[in-house]
């Protein structure tokens, strides 16, 4: 496998490097060790930026916190009674990671309700505040009208930083002047971190991060809790920077606040963006390239330019110093990468729709085969039919639902009830409030009045993901898949709320987690096959044909094991043939699974053909409710929506077929 061999080669090169360095007398071990610390930091930033899609411009703050946690716990020199004696390095490194992770949560928490670019600015603000705080907390004097409760208290070492910081102790290894033990220590920490990150990336949590990155609302409506998922991204991202910071502090033996300025955050961002956000290999590559560029290329090129200047006789060149330009080049690098190759060097290129596969297929794309009762996964049958309430009670009971947007009343006391195992159609002209109704029921919008009872319990005030966990799944009018995830991963995200793997479980792959993951994958494949997407599991969602995307969205909704499915115009944009297949699929779900469905639809043939009951909305008010025949004759419905002569038209179309 190419993938494995790449990692092996990298590992071998890194293990052998110190010996090469010694043999050739290069004396670069220190520099390479520092470079590895920065690569580790970039990898931590990649969790936040690459996986979870949260632009963090103040990541150096976590680096600082890790370094200071180590320095303050492990330095004998600070006068504060809090840090009386030095702790062991091996203890401090965990403490530093834990403190960083904790601060990651503290800093992450306020940003949860904020949009992408505001979030970036907030992290930048924290990135500025923390060095300021470290600088100023070295000499605190509080004076209130002559009274000084605190005088010249030194918490952080102030501008001078902390010096010295204790070294690690390991029997038989000397962490003194020889740089090699440091190199291997950092290498081991880095390797373990990469291993943990690669495990996380492929875990339940990793999928949730990427779902949030792709479409937060859709992820929320698929059962992923955005709050805990984002906080975990901040916490774990900070955790690894805690490792990096603490090793860095111990290696340098001294730290000052100047080492953690905004520029460091931007250099780390450069590494992530250049290599390819979200790709472990890419970030390692980006980190190595930038380190080499920064530490080797710039100085060597300066020598070269000066040599050229001396040889040709241009005095300006003989004094040139390209290392002064380093931040200019970082800035230029950011701009160029974003303009030329936004996915980064190793980023996954968006694959075009496969051409090769079409060879043995007919050129005209055949509509997907109709779903058959036999292909319904047995587990789904079982899961959908679980549930509490008595058979006779409706699965969803909505009473007096009211929603206002400023002065506009979008929903005005709407009642709607869905019997168990029934298909209920929700129709009405554009702007009648149908999608608003969906958004309120699924928790995306807060209601202004009324009750929503699902399976005997109120779901009012629950977050969308909690409502999904209760058993209500939905699709969107404008398809909202996770475009850069594969079809299989899209369905797996749907399983998220039914899986139990924890962070540590996902990292260590306990037998239970491995079994659960295997089962989830098998189920996801079965669902894909059921909706007619068998064999397309590895395609990116964005590359699927339109009709396939619609069906994938239904498969994702089914993966949440719903007992009520809300479909928002599922046949919009489909041709008659696809519409027919879809109608059969919905009918099958009801017939075979007794799955309750609430359907918004403008194709009257679909609605009238499969609905048991129909509710008609107009200007946010329910104007009619009844069986399909009843609705077709209802004068107010004809006036508001269907139009006169609709019945004849429908009959004529039926006759024509």
């Amino acid at each position: 496998m190419r993938r494995a061999s790449g990692w092996t080669a990298l590992a071998a090169a890194l293990v052998l490097y110190p010996f090469v360095d010694r043999a050739l007398g290069l004396h670069t071990i220190h520099a390479v060790s520092d470079g590895m610390v920065y690569v580790l930091l970039a990898l931590g930033l990649n969790i936040v930026v690459g996986y979870a899609g949260l632009l963090d411009l103040g990541y150096a703050a976590f680096f600082a916190i890790g370094a200071y946690a180590m320095a303050l716990l492990n330095s004998p020199l600070l006068g504060s009674p809090l840090y009386g004696h030095a702790w062991s390095f091996w203890l401090c490194i965990w403490a530093a990671a834990a403190v960083s992770a904790l601060l990651g949560v503290v800093i992450g928490a306020p940003t949860l309700r904020v949009r992408g670019d505001y979030l970036a600015i907030i992290t930048l603000g924290f990135g500025e505040i923390i060095p300021v705080a470290i600088r100023n907390l070295g000499d605190i004097t509080v004076e209130i009208g002559g009274w000084r409760p605190i005088e010249r208290l030194n918490l952080t070492g102030g501008e001078n930083g902390v010096n010295p910081v204790g070294r690690p102790y390991l029997p038989g290894v000397s962490f003194e002047t020889d740089p090699a033990p440091w190199y291997f220590l950092i290498l081991v920490i880095g390797a373990l971190s990469v291993w943990a990150m690669s495990r996380l990336q492929d875990s339940r949590l990793g999928r949730a991060w990427m779902a949030i990155r792709e479409d937060e609302t859709a992820a929320d409506c698929t059962g992923v809790n955005p709050i805990s998922t984002k906080l975990l991204a901040f916490a774990l991202g900070a955790w690894f920077s805690g490792f990096a910071g603490s090793v860095y502090a111990a290696k340098l033996q001294a730290i000052t606040p100047g080492a953690f300025e905004f520029q460091v955050s931007i250099m780390l961002l450069c590494m992530v963006v250049l290599g390819g956000t979200g790709s472990l290999k890419g970030v390692i590559l980006g980190g190595m390239l930038i380190t080499v560029f920064d530490r080797v290329l710039l100085s060597q090129t300066t020598f070269f330019v000066r040599w050229v200047g001396r040889t040709i006789g241009i005095p300006a060149l003989t004094t040139a110093d390209l290392t002064l330009w380093r931040w200019f080049f970082f800035g230029l690098g950011l701009v160029l990468v974003m303009l030329v190759r936004p996915q980064g060097l190793a980023g996954r290129r968006v694959r075009p729709i496969a051409v090769v596969d079409d060879v043995d297929q007919p050129t005209v794309q055949e509509a997907a085969p109709a779903a058959r009762a036999e292909s319904i996964p047995p587990w789904l049958r079982e899961r959908v039919q679980r549930g509490g309430g008595p058979e006779s009670a409706p699965i969803l009971e909505v009473r007096g639902l009211t929603k206002r947007f400023g002065g506009v009343i979008a929903l005005n006391g709407v009642d709607l009830s869905i019997p168990r195992g029934a298909i209920v159609g929700l129709i009405g002209p554009n702007g009648a409030g149908k999608t608003t109704f969906f958004n309120v029921v699924t928790g995306l919008l807060r209601l202004d009045g009324g009750r929503i009872t699902f399976d005997g319990a109120s779901v009012v005030g629950l977050r969308p993901n909690a409502i999904v966990a209760r058993g209500i799944a939905r699709t969107f009018q404008s398809i909202r898949l996770f475009p850069h995830l594969t079809a299989l991963d899209n369905v797996l995200v749907g399983q998220h709320c039914r899986l139990t793997a924890t962070v540590t479980g996902g990292m260590f792959r306990t037998p239970a987690v491995v079994a659960e993951e295997a089962r989830a994958r098998a189920r996801a494949r079965e669902l894909l096959a059921f909706v007619g997407l068998g064999g397309k599991g590895a395609d990116l969602a964005r590359n699927l044909a339109y009709g396939d995307q619609r069906r994938l969205e239904i498969a994702r909704a089914l993966a949440t094991e719903p007992r009520l499915l809300l479909l928002d115009e599922p046949s919009a944009g489909m041709n008659p043939r696809e519409t027919e297949t879809l109608t059969e699929l919905i009918g099958l779900l009801r017939r075979e699974l007794a799955l309750s469905v609430l359907l918004i639809e403008h194709h009257m043939e679909v609605v009238m053909g499969i609905s048991d009951r129909i509710t008609v909305l107009d200007y946010g008010t329910r104007i009619a409710e009844g069986g399909p025949q009843e609705i077709q004759r209802h004068p107010r419905v004809i006036e508001a929506y269907l139009g006169t002569g609709y019945e004849d038209e429908l009959a004529a179309r039926r006759g024509a077929r």
């Binding site: 940003t111 904020v114 931040w327 936004p342």
Partner: protein
Amino acid sequence: MEWWEVLVQQTINGLTRGAVFALIALGYTMVYGIIELINFAHGDVFMLGLFISLFWFTLLGVTKTLTAWQLVTLLPLVFALTMLSTAALNVAIDRAAYRPLRRSPRLAPLITAIGVSFMLENIALLWQGPAPIAYPDVFPSVDILREWFGVDSAIFLTTKDLLVVGATLPLMLALHYFVTRTTWGKAMRATAQDRETAAAMGINVERTILLTFFLGGALAGAAGLIQGMYYNIGQWWMGYQAGLRAFTAAVIGGIGNMPGAALGGLAIGFLSAWSDQYISARWTNAIVFSILILVLVFRPHGLLGERTPEKV
């Protein structure tokens, strides 16, 4: 100094600082309003504005205090030249670094904006060197209270303070007139509300965006010139800090809201001056950023702005 004299003095300081922040904040708020981009490089356009104005003064041979005659001829000329230069620079930045990314995810142009900011700072560093640059004392400084009114007070109010207000206020009023009363201004407001619909109505959206960057750049240039004449010092890194403070001002006023940006600028000016005096200059940055964070989290539409539904 009596306590009230300190307060008055710091309030004057806050007013002059705030006027400069307000001019920069207007550029942030206009650009954000129209393309929803935090133009991170804007503070550095301000910083370059200072050095560019210095360049024009040097070119015109001005090295010491201007005479009355020069004040009415050369000073407006330098204002015009500086504003044109930074406006052109801002437009060029948009063309090169933001325009190709108009249809990309929102974070992409923000990342290039940070890149541009680094490039501008380092251009200034290599052009002017790392040491602070002395800006000639071109504007006559007269102690108004003592020399004009004969009041012996510890409060120091000079003609320079008047200059700041006298230059800033007309610029803001002119901008306000332009945006609210002219066809181009109407095009800007329409594009800010809905780019697609504006385009459908026959508005040349790209030209409107260009105009926005042009105006924002011009104001940043004016702010740089005023800053230079007032404080007589320029440093390559000053754009980063001033930019962040001005951005905070724009956020406080409700980003996209132009009168809000002006008021927010004054608010940040007062706050930073008072914080320098009454808490400690060492903490001022932390305080300004805390305010930025609090406003973004709890009042993302600003303290003045009305709530507008988020564009989906």
